[in-house]
């Protein structure tokens, strides 16, 4: 997360310039390499993520507003495809699926045989247009899911075309989280879009450079374009008003029992939306199921939320029955104990938990007021 932030250097002098039409060449090259390209796209007036086959599926012209508990996206006359806040869903679901088959068992000649989950031949992925906060979240998952075979398999094959943010929505706080708006070190290529929709592409790895070359994208970007691109990203950073209250977090770490958790938990529905949309929440539970058709059994790993009563179910009942105890668990894990466990913050500042919380609970102010 080091080379991010508002005052990073201009794009590399080797950066190339892309017209809007060149995006299709870039996407086709990735697809010709056998990759499934995932990118932002609009569905039911919401920017979400899905497989894209061409640049026509990007949310060009769409602008979004995000505030606590509220999201609105509207088509506009703008030429840009990447000047939006974080898409509604996070990219984690493509690396860490909501349901994963772990093992299955079958009966062969009367004996139980355990079959490891078939490592289905999958096409490698390319993330196209992932923003700095979400890219940093992959860095966080890399640590948390280091031993998860399915995650590792997809992650190792992943190619990343990141997009610098040229706008911030009201819920963004990547600057304060130290993750953006410039994409950090995990990108193979970084795109920065200018107001007219043209872009600057900056290869960060050998294979990123090779993709640009194969796509025939080699027009050197002008210094003027590089400067305007940098200015746009700086302006996006300057627009952010939210920030993590490091003092409040330190106080919560030192004396968690003294925090007025009740005041925030009073508004919590324990619905779990925050954890589901968070790009770093990785928890799962294990579900053993038997199949009716052939009597075989399957073990599934399924997304879980610390806001669910069953999440903390131990022998005899749940140890976190009150909404207060569940909010406290989420907050302290994200912002405090994650550091002890994984050596980083569990929050990358994407603001999704603020936007998509039905009652608009705001992690940046939850315990300051």
């Amino acid at each position: 997360m080091s080379d991010s932030g508002a005052t990073a250097a201009l794009p590399d002098p080797a950066a190339v310039s892309l017209a809007i039409a060149d995006l299709d060449r870039l996407i086709s090259t990735l697809r010709d390499d056998g990759r499934v390209v995932i990118g932002p796209t609009t569905r039911d007036s919401v920017m979400t993520l899905d497989e894209i086959a061409g640049a026509g599926q990007l949310p060009r012209g769409w602008l979004d507003e995000q505030s606590p508990g509220k999201y609105r996206a509207t088509p506009s006359e703008t030429a840009t495809a990447f000047a939006h806040g974080p898409p509604s869903m996070s990219w984690k679901r493509f690396l860490h699926e909501e349901r994963t088959l772990v093992i299955s068992t079958s009966r062969t000649n009367g004996a139980m045989v355990i079959d490891p989950a078939p490592a289905a031949p999958e096409k490698p992925l390319a993330f196209f247009g992932i923003q700095a906060c979400d890219l940093a979240a992959i860095g966080v998952l890399d640590v948390a899911l280091a031993d998860d075979a399915a995650y590792r398999r997809r992650r190792d094959d992943l190619l990343v075309v990141a997009a610098s943010c040229t706008d911030s929505v009201a819920t963004c706080f990547c600057v304060s989280a130290g993750t953006g708006p410039r994409p950090g070190p995990l990108a193979d290529i970084v795109l920065t879009e200018l107001a007219d929709g043209s872009l600057i592409a900056d290869a960060r790895t050998e294979r990123g450079a090779a993709v640009l070359t194969r796509a025939g994208l080699d027009t050197a970007a002008t210094e003027a374009d590089c400067r305007s691109a940098a200015a746009l990203v700086d302006a996006a950073a300057a627009r952010q008003t939210r920030h993590l209250d490091t003092e409040a977090i330190a106080r919560a770490a030192a004396a968690p029992d003294d925090v007025g958790w009740d005041a925030v938990a009073e508004r919590c529905l324990t619905c779990g939306n925050c954890t589901m949309v968070c790009p770093t929440c990785f928890c799962t539970s294990i579900s053993d199921q038997t199949r009716l058709d052939d009597g075989c059994a399957e073990r599934w790993q399924i997304w879980a939320s610390c806001f669910s009563l069953d999440f903390a179910y131990v022998h005899g009942g749940s140890v976190r029955t009150s909404p207060t105890s569940r909010y406290r668990q989420w907050y302290l894990h994200k912002l405090v104990t994650w550091h002890d466990q994984f050596d980083s913050s569990g929050c990358v500042g994407c603001g999704r938990c603020i936007t998509w919380c039905p009652t608009g609970i705001d992690i940046t102010e939850a315990i300051t007021s």
Binding site: K70, S88, C271, L292, W303, D310
Partner: protein, 268 residues
């Protein structure tokens, strides 16, 4: 030499209900033959002519308790069954007929029936658990077919059913559906409603109606002010919490804004 193991006997009972949940079993077209091979359907008036006297390994009960005879009959069912599973909003929460619990049953009978004297019903409609011990409650109006198969399969395998008790929102987000409440301002009961339907309504752009009743730690009192800010009047809020699962806590306790008696309503 192996002997064919005895197939577990299963009975399906109906109390005050619409039959829709039992129908879910018949809807399991692809799986039904397999289910019929694995179990001995010993009593199932809707699906077969079998009327065994029991005992049964598993009784699946649909419907709520509405009459004095129901009380006796459900006790017999319990005595004859090793395990009892209730299915659907009627059996688990009283169902839509439990709306009468909020009014005066005598008054209701006079309004609805030409000859109320022929009726003999209890003052309140209640879920099965109010009368007997129940081993598992499967929620929904109607229940979900996949969940029913999971419950039957779990009893056949002698394990606990894997049925989540948290919110519809969890299923909504697992399905990758953007939230209709946040993105469109559509009132949605998902945050307080028990999952199981796979977020069917939100996936079609509609708010959740709460068919599966309150989730394990539902907080309708936190959702209600939000519904107000979305422009839903208080009497409508009362109505959305008082549908198929009106009698289950904490939906039951959602305050009625302006008390309107039935006679006032019917004369207006």
């Amino acid at each position: 030499m192996s002997r064919e193991p005895r197939r577990p006997s299963v009975a399906i009972w109906k109390f005050a209900s619409c039959d829709g949940c039992q129908l879910t079993l018949l809807d399991c077209e692809d799986e039904l033959l397999r289910v019929a091979e694995l179990i001995d359907i010993a009593y199932f008036l809707e699906g077969s002519s079998a009327t065994s006297d029991g005992p049964f390994d598993l009784s699946i009960v649909e419907g709520s308790i509405s009459t004095a005879e129901d009380i006796e009959r459900i006790q017999t069912v319990r005595e004859k069954s090793a395990a009892v599973v209730t299915i659907g909003a009627c059996a688990t929460a009283g169902g839509i007929q439990a709306l009468r619990n909020f009014g005066d049953v005598e008054e209701l009978m006079r309004i609805v029936y030409a000859t109320p004297d022929f009726l003999s019903v209890l003052d309140t409609v209640t879920p099965i658990t109010d009368h007997i011990d129940v081993d598992f409650e499967l929620r929904g109006c109607p229940i979900d077919k996949r969940q029913l198969l999971e419950v039957i399969g779990s009893y056949l395998a002698g394990r606990r059913p894997q049925i989540a008790t948290d919110s519809v929102c969890i299923e909504c987000k697992m399905a990758g559906q953007p939230c209709v409440l946040v993105a469109e301002g559509t009132p949605c009961l998902g945050p307080v409603t028990h999952g199981g339907c796979g977020a069917l309504c939100p996936r079609f752009g509609r708010g959740c109606y709460g068919c599966f009743g309150p989730m394990d730690s539902a907080r309708p009192e936190v959702l209600a002010p939000l519904l107000t800010t979305m422009g839903m009047p208080e009497d409508e809020q009362y109505r959305v919490f008082h549908t198929f699962n009106a009698w289950s806590e904490p939906f039951r306790d959602q305050p009625r804004p302006v008390p309107v008696t039935l006679s006032e309503r019917s004369t207006s």
